[in-house]
């Protein structure tokens, strides 16, 4: 019998392998540098948004505003940042600080993060609509060239995803701050008694989420070249789904950065796979829900086996 712990850690990678194998089977021509590049191009912004969501989930909260936030970043970058770079950078920094402020507010008043971030999603969307009432704007050339950068042999999205996953893994899983941050999700009381500031931890985690949200918005704009306030509305769901597919737990600070990136790749690939299967676009969202439920069911099975052994 395989060790259930090992099985659970391998589940995200197995899911990715299954989806990848199925895609190659249905459409063998995708098994190429060009094919993978095309299928996975949106994996980078999704992976960055997933990492942002993972930081929030680490401290037992949930961010329902990340999608509109990614949209807002795109809007700022395509208008202000493109026109007056200094002002644009200041606006993006303000966005990250706003995330930290929200984290502080949620912590100090012990508010439910779902309600606050749901309200916040309206604020982001409103600001984005005010700056750019209808789709338009233009991506700064630098972003465009970064996102279309081509690496020999291995498609760029895969390289980028591995680099992102590795950096966050090092920061969250191997540093002492990472241990405290994950502990904040596991047992905040114990850490407070040990003298760590939970306020500070939460604020830093929220600001990290804001930072990765900004990166996600910038990379998405590099691909789409023009901005739209609503372009990333689905990202809230994608990011939560990505963390789940990647083996993260919602309570207890048990998260996995590599898993989250793999989960995002799986999601991006699942979209392409469903198109190859000629599943009607009506069932696109539904199929993603079904994938989520299947993965969660498998994990429940593994957990119950773990409890028995």
């Amino acid at each position: 019998m395989i060790n259930p712990r090992l099985l659970r850690a391998a589940l995200p990678f197995l899911s990715l392998a299954v989806v990848l194998g199925a895609t190659f089977y249905v459409q063998p021509r995708t098994m190429s540098y060009f094919g993978l590049n095309l299928m996975l191009q949106y994996a980078v912004p999704i992976a960055l948004a997933t990492i942002a969501q993972m930081f929030i989930i680490t401290v037992n909260d949930l961010d329902l505003s990340i999608g509109p936030f990614v949209g807002l970043v795109g809007v700022i970058a395509a208008t202000v940042l493109n026109g007056t770079p200094a002002l644009g950078v200041a606006a993006l920094v303000a966005c990250v600080l706003a995330y930290g402020l929200v984290g502080a507010l949620i912590h100090l008043r012990s508010l439910p993060s779902i309600v606050v971030t749901l309200g916040l999603s309206f604020v982001w969307l409103g600001i984005a609509v005010m700056i750019l009432p209808s789709p338009g704007g233009k991506a700064p050339p630098l972003l465009r060239s970064i996102m279309t950068f081509s690496v020999p042999y291995v498609p760029f999205p895969i390289v980028a995803a591995i680099v992102i996953g590795a950096i966050v893994h090092l920061a969250l899983m191997t540093t002492s701050f990472g241990v405290i941050a994950r502990g904040a999700g596991g047992n905040p009381k114990a850490l407070t008694r040990a003298g760590w500031s939970m306020l500070q931890t939460r604020v830093v985690m929220y600001m990290l989420a804001g930072l990765f949200g900004v990166l996600s918005g910038l990379s998405l704009l590099g691909l789409t070249t023009s901005a739209d306030a609503h372009v990333a509305d689905r990202y809230t769901l994608y990011s939560i789904a990505g963390v789940i597919l990647g083996g993260g737990e919602f309570i207890g600070g048990r998260v996995s950065p590599m898993g989250a990136v793999v989960g995002a790749l799986t999601l991006a690939l699942a979209g392409a796979f469903l198109i190859f299967l000629r599943i009607s676009p009506d069932w696109q969202i539904g199929a993603q829900g079904a994938i989520l439920i299947v993965v969660l069911a498998m994990r429940a099975l593994i957990t119950s086996r773990e409890a028995r052994s």
Binding site: S110, L111, G119, V129, A287, L292
Partner: protein, 316 residues
């Protein structure tokens, strides 16, 4: 003064009504009193739909932290689409359509509970995952032409009795019933008990599983009712008809004085909050605010209200 404050603390729903009256007054001042009655009537008409889903969401939230039903918008859409398609504009098929729509809604509630129970996942994730499937079902089933509601249903959803919309009166009665259920029945007391301390409720011999099951099915059923009525009111079902109701259903519960931490539900507050939310948008419209400003203000006010009410949950 302290006695008054203590009395006010037992009536958390007063705040939402006070806020509604304040916003109404502001709007009426700007128009110079013209149309103040009409504003209130339309607030009641539109607010009623939010109240229906708010009642279900309130029951779910009262069963404790982490319990939120995110599948309400998708369930509304599914119910509206099924009702319109089964009725097919024929008055004789109204009952059949209602039965089909509510049957489908209750299946969503059962599925939600099964996911929470079998997969042991937080209700947020369970209802989110199921909502994807529900929405896809609605999109796939409802593809094609927009079907008008049969005239009697449209009349029922829009007619007014002495200035009050008929639906508002019906939902007022339903609210009274739910308030009674919450206060006086074993089921209602169990909902509150689970929200306060699930383990204690279980040790006291209360049927936690059955109560939770009923709660999720009720929430889905109320979303279904709202979907049918909304389709009747606005001349048919639309695939995005549930979109506004995700934030609204949670916001009216929270603003209405129900404890987000669970264990303390509040029915009258939902009415005050629903009126407040609609009047707020009306006021911003009268002020000539752009859609962007309206969105920002709605978001900020919800955050402000939850911040003001948030400290109270800790003192329990």
């Amino acid at each position: 003064m302290t006695a008054l404050r203590a009395r006010l603390a037992t009536l958390p729903w007063l705040w939402s009504f006070a806020a509604a009256v304040l916003v109404w007054g502001l709007a009426a001042t700007v128009t110079g009193g013209r149309g103040a009655g009409e504003i209130l009537t339309s607030a009641l008409a539109f607010g009623t739909f939010t109240v229906i889903v708010g009642l279900g969401q309130m029951l779910v939230i009262t069963t404790g932290p982490g319990n939120v039903d995110l599948s309400i918008p998708a369930t509304m859409t599914l119910s509206g689409v099924i009702a319109m398609k089964v009725m097919d504009t024929e008055s004789a098929r109204i009952l059949l359509g209602v039965a089909a729509a509510l049957g489908a809604s209750s299946i969503v509630g059962v599925v939600n509970y099964v996911l929470i129970r079998l997969l042991r996942i937080p209700p947020i994730i369970a209802t989110l995952s199921s909502s994807f499937l529900v929405l896809s079902t609605a999109i796939s089933y409802g593809r094609g032409l927009r079907i008008k509601p049969p005239p009697p249903l449209a009349d029922f959803a829009t007619v007014r009795l002495g200035g009050l919309p008929l639906v508002t009166i019906a939902i007022l009665i339903l609210s009274l019933l739910i308030a009674l259920v919450l206060k006086r029945t074993v089921y209602g007391r169990t909902v509150a008990a689970i929200g306060q301390n699930e383990r204690a409720a279980w040790l006291a011999g209360l049927d936690v599983r059955r109560t939770r099951f009923i709660t999720y099915v009720l929430s889905a059923l109320l979303a279904g009712v709202c979907g049918i009525l909304q389709s009747g009111f606005s001349g048919g079902a639309a695939l995005n008809m549930g979109d506004d109701f995700l934030l609204a259903s949670i916001a009216v519960v929270v603003i209405g004085g129900t404890s987000v931490a669970g264990g303390r539900g509040n029915v009258p507050g939902i009415w005050g909050a629903a009126l407040f939310m609609f009047l707020l948008v009306t006021m911003l419209n009268i002020f000539g605010a752009s859609p962007g400003i309206r969105l920002v203000m709605t978001g900020l006010i919800i955050i402000a209200v939850i911040t003001a009410a948030g400290g109270e949950t800790q003192t329990r």
